[in-house]
Symmetry: C2
Subunit: 251 residues, 2 copies
């Protein structure tokens, strides 16, 4: 089913919204360990108490594991790790000690090109999915086909920020939801035109999901229920969020 | 009442948490227009259906208005606007057309030093609060005193990101909640020590609140219900989130 098409007989997602606007964020438990080749979409379709109009947020870690994006790496081997990070990068922006800030092939700028050793068996590292928008579409397609409900999917990862301490979860892929919602041209509450309010709702949804997933509890997915139905349309993190170098003031 | 101290006889916030972990995000309606000198804390204490352990997120715009952080500015006067932005900045990092990326006196790096013309009467602009942690503490103190419940307060603003399109809401001040939760040293789900997982939950909470507040609907506050009670302790965006220039790779 293409993005934005709803199964006949299902109400639009707006009916989840209370008045005043409200969201619910629910951790999805019972996923268990995910290994290369596992049917992650099927596991999620069975485990997640999804309803029509929900956004299912899934962490990069389990998506990468299911897609076999694991490579051998001795966790103490800092040289091997650096080479692996460089192999996943098209550009190194900064280095400090073991930390490299690089641009990945996808256009993400992040620490260590998304190469990750946490929650991975010793001797292995995960790489980012080849195309996390495609990962999100595949998961969505399976859930829509199996459950006959229209849902959106966001694949999340944990990124640092240039001038702010602490990491937050952001979207690296999405399907069935706009990554950025453009409110430019809409009048503000005083009736004046708004200037620049392209809101990256996919990142805010990923961050909200992180609040219930934690880091150490083995919960790799969450449901965000109650987003406005107008957001539930074709979307892509690559197309909408990744900032081309030409637009960028810090590369 | 100091941060982290609960009124006797009130249960800890953990009792709001369902199992599995869940959050609710509720828009606060009925605030009305806020003007300089208004008792914003009192208005929020009356309007927001707060419960013990809730986080109340309030936008910078209404905090600045209540605190009288309004200055005259003809919205078409680009030179006057640039001078105002420079007056609010300690360092200009980049310029492109009308856009300046600057470091404010508070240490925030953001567009136009947080000077904002949207949702402000023509002829005026809002400046950031002098100290948004203090703004959050004041609002919290009034609510705790008046309602006899323990709540946290986050003051949010809308910032762009270096390498990602679209804006998201982040925290510029907080009280009664840690801005950054440090999970370093905690074992991950496979029992291995986690390396770097200082999560900026204040930013994720601000972003989650933005999802229900929208940009054009005149809703300046939201409640985030269900955060772990361990997070509800003394916190400060200035101390925990603002990255000192010496730590910073992009300034």
């Amino acid at each position: 089913m293409p993005d934005g098409v709803r199964p006949a007989g299902h109400p639009p997602a707006a009916e989840h919204s209370a008045d005043p606007p409200a969201l619910t964020v629910l951790a999805v438990t019972g996923i268990g360990a995910i290994h290369p080749g596992d049917d992650l979409a099927g596991v999620l379709a069975d485990a997640a108490p999804l309803a029509d109009g929900d956004v299912l947020v899934v962490t990069q870690k389990v998506v990468s594991k299911a897609e076999g994006r694991l490579v051998p790496l001795d966790h103490g081997d800092t040289v091997g790790r650096r080479r692996l990070v460089e192999s996943q990068s098209v550009r190194v922006l900064r280095r400090r000690g073991d930390l490299l800030i690089t641009e990945t092939r996808h256009g993400f700028v992040c620490a260590n090109a998304g190469v990750d050793l946490s929650n991975v068996d010793e001797g292995f590292a995960t790489l980012l999915p080849e195309d996390a928008d495609r990962s999100a579409r595949r998961i969505r397609d399976v859930i829509v086909a199996r459950r006959r409900i229209d849902v959106a999917v966001v694949v999340s990862d944990t990124f640092g920020r240039t001038w702010r301490r602490g990491v937050t979860d952001v979207a690296i892929g999405c399907a069935g939801i706009a990554a950025v919602v453009d409110l430019r041209g809409t009048a503000d509450a005083l009736g004046q035109p708004l200037l620049a309010t392209e809101v990256c709702v996919a990142d805010e949804i990923a961050g909200a999901a992180e609040l219930v997933m934690g880091k150490a509890t083995g919960i790799p997915a969450a449901i965000v229920r109650g987003v406005p139905c107008q957001w539930l349309r074709r979307g892509s993190v690559t197309d909408e969020v990744v900032r081309p170098p030409a637009e960028d003031l810090f590369r």
